[in-house]
């Protein structure tokens, strides 16, 4: 699968497959196998750009975004209360403009260092500002959602950092590929402006919005007329998460077993080598068998690495589902506001009717009591009240209109967004599965030198 942005240097799964096969066309000696293993133990994982369909006119068409390196930094200025230095990881974000006019990103090549919390800040900003967008998720902050036994959870583990890097790159590229998000100034700033970017973000006042949003999202309420579409989407999101989780769980167990099997075969290698020493005619055959077993034992490491990447891509969709859920939730909030506005209007209207004497008051009301005790209200006060109420009703109507417009606009954009998301998901998942299948095929082919045994 070639890189969509046309970068020839991005290794793809297919070319890996090919280059490996080229090496094993002849008799596979232990040296060849070691060389292949070393080559495969690349420090950098392949880019994900293949997964991302660029929408027309988006940033990613013209600009190439990469997260290329990571480094450990010590916070010189900040120390924790215990006097220990704050250690964190930074990632190098490089931007290269391919065609001129990259939406005001200028020319040439920029690179700056960002740490994870800054990515989080960017994402939170985007989520709050474009609430109808299913904003791409970030990779995990800490190692959660692991179904394999981990004796220690090390946030500085090299593999974890590497996979995080890949995830961060994917995030930026997805944002860059999104029609609306890619035009955002704060996003541009993230890519290019190192200093005072954080201040710029806070200047947008998104923090306040975020707080109110969080509050409303967490509130529980009942809708009178929930939107069927969004209900379905919410349920779909939950099911998607459940399904992917189930798949990943079994996959992890499977790989565990496979790992064990391969490693135990390594014991064969030792025994065969020792055995070949006491045999005459069988000696050579046993030796080569032993070597094969040793190589077989090592196959599994590369395979596991590559499969982990694919698993990560599936995991991304678990988080995507979360983003989808929040959009649905937002719609519910808006709907609730709408309904509240409608209710308020209806209540005020009723009040007005009551004041004007048209609507009979209910069984017990203050007005009724008052009129009974104090006598009916004067026309003046009625008029005054009516006026107040009419103003209020006017306000309500405006409010309602606004809320309706807002809600409808939101729904419209959200549904478009959902469609886009669905297409992306379908494409992504198909791509993921194809790569998975290719990997399986690769590993199956690799083991065909089992025919070594004909030498014995």
């Amino acid at each position: 699968m070639a890189d969509v942005t046309g970068d020839p240097s991005a290794p793809s799964y297919d070319s890996e497959l090919l280059s490996d096969q080229q090496d094993t066309s002849g008799p596979t000696s232990i040296g060849d196998l070691a060389r292949i293993a070393a080559k495969n133990r690349k420090p950098k994982l392949p880019h994900w750009t293949s997964l991302i369909d660029c929408q027309d006119g988006t940033l990613l068409e013209q600009v190439e975004i990469c997260v290329t390196e990571q480094e450990k930094r010590t916070g010189a200025a900040r120390t924790t209360s215990m006097g220990m230095k704050d250690v964190y990881t930074v990632y190098l974000v490089e931007t290269r403009v391919k065609e001129s006019g990259g939406q005001g990103l200028g020319e040439g090549h920029t690179s700056l260092w960002r740490r994870y919390s800054e990515f989080e800040l960017l994402r939170n900003y985007l989520v709050v500002t474009y609430s109808y967008v299913i904003v791409p998720p970030l990779p995990e902050k800490r190692m959660t959602l692991m179904w394999q036994q981990m004796s220690t959870v090390d946030n500085f583990d090299a593999d974890f950092i590497e996979r995080r890097r890949v995830g961060l790159e994917g995030f930026l590229q997805r944002v860059g590929a999104h029609q609306t998000l890619c035009e955002d100034g704060i996003f541009h700033g993230f890519l290019q402006k190192e200093d005072s970017w954080k201040e710029a973000v806070h200047a947008t006042g998104f923090q306040a919005k975020q707080d109110s949003r969080l509050k409303s999202l967490n509130a529980s309420f009942r809708l009178k007329k929930p939107d069927r579409k969004f209900e379905d989407l919410k349920n779909y999101a939950s099911e998607l998460q459940g399904n992917i989780t189930a798949v990943l769980k079994v996959r992890a167990k499977l790989v565990d077993r496979l790992y064990g099997i391969h490693k135990i075969h390594g014991n064969y290698g030792r025994v065969f080598s020792e055995w070949s020493g006491i045999e005459q005619e069988m000696g050579d055959g046993l030796q080569s068998a032993g070597h094969f077993m040793d190589a077989y034992k090592d196959y599994i490491d590369d395979y596991m690495n590559e499969e982990e990447q694919i698993a990560d891509q599936l995991k991304e969709y678990i988080y995507f589902a979360d983003a989808l859920k929040s959009v649905c939730r937002k719609q519910e909030v808006l709907q609730y506001e709408l309904e509240k506005a409608g209710d308020l209007l209806a209540a005020k209207t009723l009040q007005k009717e009551q004041v004007m004497g048209n609507a009979p008051s209910r069984s017990f009301s203050l007005r009724g009591m008052r009129s009974k005790i104090f006598g009916p209200e004067s026309q003046e006060s009625k008029d005054a009240q009516t006026k107040v109420l009419e103003e209020q009703i006017e306000e309500c109507e405006q409010h309602l209109k606004q809320a309706t417009q807002e809600t409808e606009a939101f729904i419209e954009s959200a549904l478009v967004e959902v469609e886009r998301f669905k297409k992306q998901r379908t494409t992504d998942l198909k791509e993921i599965f194809i790569n998975y299948a290719i990997l399986q095929i690769k590993i199956s082919k690799r083991v065909s030198p089992f025919s070594f045994n004909k030498n014995v």
Partner: protein, 486 residues
């Protein structure tokens, strides 16, 4: 060669000329070439204490290697029998032979495991100098003794046992074997009751274990054999252990695979556009699960029992080596005794009997000398005979050991190769099935993707280089496939 054979014909029973295998056309050598020699020898004689000059036979074997196997034994058709006090399984032992030692050309008898044990015990006693193949174990820790799988495995092992015996040029003529193959049930019972008791068996084991320590000058080739078989047994036992572990993991792997497919299918339940994709993935994984299970089964039924057998076979070889050592020791002891007596004789000749016990008691010293000499002479005579006998016996044992060892090595090479080739073939088959399943699913995925991309293209107007690359990658994949298929 005919001169040698003439020496032996006096031991044979009447044999028709047309049955002389020498008349038969020679074909390429197999392990059964010894039959030509075996036929000439006395097939019905059991006593191994007669010095059969197998050494000469051994050298003959190398010159001509006819392929005449005239004794075929199979073990099959196990059946369970339920009695009030007991339940056991019998196996049909079917023999087909052209040997004149047998009255009929075909025999079919039913035997139970105990009978096999009895046969092996008798063979061990009567063919001391030969390696007797092992029987499958009496007890199994894992499987129920009466379960079908266990019985199938045991039957296969018993069959192997009989095959090995029938191919042995000497042991296959053992009288007890004939009884085993032909006797009616009640005949067999009489034979079994008449066999030697437990005490002698224990005694012989003790004798043989200590002899190895007392041996003075074991010929280096036997030392090498002992070292080899010890190491070999070690390695086989390691192989067995490792294989057991792998088997267990494989079984778990198969179980995981079985639960994997359903997760995809369940997912497909919630999807619209991806339903088919997920369904095909689920099917593919089911196929993989099946192939893993098949491979696991094949390891269990073929590879593991073979490894087990060779572990037991190594023990059998060790036992025979120890017996050979014992025979050599007996011979050496006898030689020592003889030398001592001879020295005594010389001593007596030159001794002065004036102060001997006899002289003190009033006998004439020269008479005493005379008496002692005579006694010594007769002792020496007896000892000499014994030494000669033991020398022959030792020579026979050595030659038999060497011949059997060579045959054992040859069989081992063949069997081990079969074992591992079978294992590898099973693996290759399993991987191939998985490969096919994945390649099938990838075709489906790619064609679906192309279809949905065409649909998507109209919306987004992006080119899809990945499709072309996939196509290119595909053909290269296929090209590689052809290279790999050997």
């Amino acid at each position: 060669m005919s001169a040698n054979m003439a020496d032996e014909t006096q031991k044979t029973d009447s044999r028709d000329v047309e049955e002389d295998p020498l008349q038969n056309p020679l074909s390429s050598g197999t392990d059964d070439e010894e039959d030509i020699i075996a036929v000439i020898r006395a097939p019905a004689k059991v006593s191994s204490t007669e010095g059969r000059p197998s050494a000469i036979m051994g050298s003959m074997k190398l010159e001509e290697e006819p392929d005449v196997k005239d004794l075929f034994i199979t073990v099959d058709d196990f059946q369970k029998h339920v009695f009030t006090i007991d339940t056991y399984i019998t196996y049909r032992v079917f023999t087909r032979t052209t040997r004149s030692a047998f009255d009929e050309p075909e025999y079919s008898v039913r035997r139970r495991y105990q009978d096999f044990l009895w046969l092996r015990q008798k063979l061990l006693e009567t063919e001391e100098t030969h390696i007797i193949p092992p029987l499958p174990e009496k007890h199994s820790m894992r499987m129920d003794r009466l379960s079908k799988d266990f019985t199938i495995t045991r039957q296969a092992a018993l069959h192997k046992f009989m095959q090995r015996i029938s191919e042995h040029p000497v042991v296959s003529f053992n009288e007890y074997l004939k009884v085993f193959l032909t006797a009616k049930a009640w005949e067999l019972t009489s034979h079994r009751k008449a066999s030697s008791g437990i005490v002698s068996r224990i005694g012989s084991t003790i004798k043989t274990t200590t002899s190895a320590l007392m041996l003075k000058n074991r010929s280096p080739e036997f030392t090498m054999m002992t070292e080899y078989i010890n190491t070999f047994a070690e390695k086989m036992s390691s192989v067995d252990r490792i294989s057991q572990r792998i088997l267990k993991e494989q079984m778990d792997l198969g179980a995981e695979y079985e639960s994997y497919g359903p997760t995809y299918r369940l997912w497909g339940n919630s999807e619209v556009e991806l339903a088919d994709t997920l369904g095909s993935l689920g099917d593919c994984l089911d196929k993989c699960a099946k192939s893993v299970k098949d491979m696991t089964l094949s390891i269990e039924t073929n590879f593991l029992p073979a490894a087990k057998e060779y572990m037991l076979y190594s023990d059998a070889v060790k036992g025979t080596l120890r017996k050979r050592d014992y025979i050599q020791m007996e011979y050496e002891l006898a030689c020592e005794e003889l030398t001592r007596k001879k020295n005594e004789r010389e001593q007596v000749k030159i001794s002065d009997q004036n102060y001997s016990l006899g002289a003190i008691m009033g006998k004439d010293p020269s008479d005493v000398k005379e008496a002692k000499s005579t006694k010594l002479e007769s002792q020496i005579d007896k000892l000499q005979k014994q030494v000669d006998f033991l020398s022959d016996k030792s020579e026979v044992a050595n030659a038999d050991m060497k011949a059997d060892m060579e045959r054992w090595h040859r069989n081992k090479r063949k069997d081990v190769k079969e074992m591992f080739t079978g294992l590898a073939a099973g693996q290759v088959e399993s991987y191939k099935q998985c490969l096919d399943a994945w390649e099938e699913v990838i075709e489906v995925l790619k064609s679906e993707k192309r279809h949905s991309d065409d649909v998507g293209n109209s919306l987004f107007q992006t080119s899809e280089p990945s499709v072309h690359a996939a196509g290119g990658g595909d053909s290269q994949l296929n090209g590689r496939e052809e290279d790999e298929k050997e």
